[in-house]
């Protein structure tokens, strides 16, 4: 076990997401969420054995699937379960303030953690239609906390323009962050406390208590503060004590490979990111 062991960005990313899950909490992932799906199953098998694990829309309680499929609503995801509920019961739990964590992403994300999963343009004149937030609009308001993840932090250059995922302002707010276009969470009487962690392929972030804005906390071994700043449109807060994230153990990575033999954890990345490897 003292030999050197190579892991991919996909595995390290999963661990980063899993670390936002605490034991003895209720956790749900939505649709189009391969990374949270792997991270939740991983957490349930490692540090969060008493987590109440809702396996997506399939809504099995504590499933023990033989492998993880590329779609969240397949019979694979109800195998080895303790019980079945219907998905509306998970939303009830959330609306009662008892769903501890979920995971959301967006094509655009602002500094307060608001996310656009709906569209660029207007409903009447829609330029780009994204899939829609599924349960995100409600759950981002209701969950005790949630984790934002995206594998597309890196801005894209098209000609001389730079397109950001982390934008100054979302064209449309689907899922709500700490300060919404309609006011702060407490002004809106929302049940939940909003996003507390953001995991991207460039770093891990929390939110500054005072300004409620995203704050860089951890870097990957191969990313720098300026990488992160360059790829973020809004002004990013950098924690005075930014560190390189802790690496997972070999045993942990082996769990990930075992539960995800199809590699669905890799589906979310632009091709080039997957060449990022780390030695532990």
């Amino acid at each position: 076990m003292s030999e050197r062991f190579e892991i991919g960005i996909d595995e390290l990313f999963v661990v980063n997401v899993a670390r936002t899950i605490k034991d003895k909490t209720t956790v749900f992932h939505g649709v189009s969420s391969p990374i949270p799906m792997v991270a939740m199953y991983f957490a349930k098998l490692t540090h969060a054995k008493d987590m109440v694990y809702f396996g997506g829309v399939s809504s099995a309680v504590d499933p023990n699937p033989p492998f993880l499929p590329p779609t969240t609503n397949d019979w694979v995801m109800i195998q080895g379960r303790t019980a079945m509920v219907t998905v509306d019961k998970i939303f009830d739990l959330a609306q009662r303030g008892e769903l501890d964590r979920s995971f959301f992403s967006g094509a655009q994300i602002d500094k307060y953690g608001n996310q656009n999963v709906s569209m660029i343009g207007t409903p009447e004149k829609c330029k780009i239609k994204f899939p829609g937030g599924a349960g995100g609009c409600n759950l981002s308001g209701d969950c005790v906390n949630y984790t934002i993840w995206t594998t597309r932090h890196r801005a894209q250059r098209k000609g001389d323009r730079k397109f950001f995922t982390f934008v100054n302002k979302c064209d449309f707010v689907t899922n709500v962050g700490h300060v919404t276009p309609y006011g702060r969470r407490e002004e809106l009487d929302l049940v939940g406390n909003g996003p507390d962690w953001v995991v991207t392929e460039l770093g891990v972030f929390d939110f500054d208590e005072k300004t409620r804005s995203m704050r860089l906390r951890y870097l990957y071994p191969d990313t720098t503060v300026s990488d992160v700043i360059d790829n973020t449109e809004f002004e990013l807060i950098v924690h005075p004590d930014v560190r390189v994230m802790e690496m997972p153990s070999r045993a942990e990575v082996e769990v990930i490979r075992r539960i995800d033999p199809l590699g669905v954890r890799k589906l979310e990345y632009p091709e080039r990111e997957l060449s990022r490897r780390f030695t532990i």
Partner: protein
């Protein structure tokens, strides 16, 4: 909603489709790539139905296909995609971006609560969480108010009453009792919230056998039943078959190219030109395909293979 006491509700696919009208609000059962009433959608396309208003939670093949087939006027689902499996829904996107389809995007719990209001026979329910989201812009019918009990902000959302729910069940009997196997997603709610319930079923079984199994849905809640083996294809209908990744991959290729390519290479081949379920089965690969999609139960390896196949 609605009470249906006919002893024999068995109808043809043609007849079932004719019970759905242009402009109807339609709740489509299943979700994403699972247990969606696709054979019925094909028949609606053949009959030239128009301007359907689709409602539901997180969907995929069904909504995209219906948009591509030109039968949709508005979409009030919460999410439409092929997840990271095949990504964005090409026909749905195109329909939204060209204005062919009106965007009425909603959120899962909101729509569940609106359907519950219909099921419970009450005009509205309060929802805590929509506030802060621009989704409220898509729904001028929602009414913000101050909760008179707690003094807190709340939003009243009206009952959503689909004209018809279309559901693909594993089993039905001719009286209309249904056996649906979990996950139900929102099917049970759709059935109880809709004015009519049209069911396609993988198998029609004797009423006696159904009663022994214990119906998921009692007969009086269903309007009509169609025998439709492979009726959810290319979405899954376990335990009979997994989803047909090969077929969906072919679908995505033409749909992703253009509306014309989709019509020519997909709709003409699999919808308009097809006279019978047998012919459809032949076109998608016949018995070999059927056997392959049923092979998930043989071993973990076989099951995994079905998710790798393109």
């Amino acid at each position: 909603m609605g009470v249906f006491t006919d002893r024999n509700k068995l109808v043809t696919m043609e007849k079932a489709a004719s019970m759905i009208n242009d402009g109807d609000i339609v709740a489509v059962g299943g979700g994403l790539c699972m247990r969606e009433p696709i054979a019925l959608l094909r028949e609606l396309m053949r009959q030239g139905r128009r301007d359907l208003h689709l409602v539901g939670t997180a969907h995929g093949f069904d909504v995209d296909f219906a948009c591509g087939g030109g039968i949709v006027g508005a979409v009030q689902e919460t999410h439409v995609s092929f997840e990271q499996d095949f990504g964005l829904a090409p026909n749905y996107r195109r329909a939204c971006e060209t204005g062919q389809v009106k965007i009425r995007e909603n959120c899962c719990n909101t729509i569940i609560m609106q359907l519950r209001a219909s099921e419970f026979g009450i005009p509205f329910v309060p929802v805590r969480s929509i506030k802060g989201s621009d989704e409220i812009k898509l729904h001028p019918e929602f009414k913000p108010m101050i909760d008179p009990f707690t003094g807190k902000k709340i939003v009243l959302v009206p009952a959503l009453v689909p004209d018809v729910a279309i559901i693909h069940a594993q089993k039905a009997d001719i009286h209309g009792n249904l056996k649906i196997m979990p996950p139900y997603v929102a099917d049970v709610l759709f059935i109880r919230a809709s004015k009519k319930v049209i069911v396609t079923a993988e198998e029609i079984i004797p009423e006696k056998e159904m009663i022994e199994e214990g119906p998921t849905i009692p007969y009086y809640e269903t309007t009509a039943v169609v025998e439709a083996p492979f009726g959810a294809h290319p979405t899954s209908c376990y335990p009979y078959y997994a989803y047909d990744r090969e077929h969906i991959s072919e679908y995505i290729k033409s749909a992703g190219e253009s509306a014309e390519a989709f019509k020519e290479r997909y709709l003409n081949k699999y919808v308009y030109g097809v006279k019978s379920p047998e012919e459809y089965l032949e076109k998608i690969g016949g018995k070999a395909k059927r056997d392959r999609l049923a092979s998930w139960k043989e071993s973990q390896e076989r099951w995994m293979e079905l998710f790798s196949y393109e």
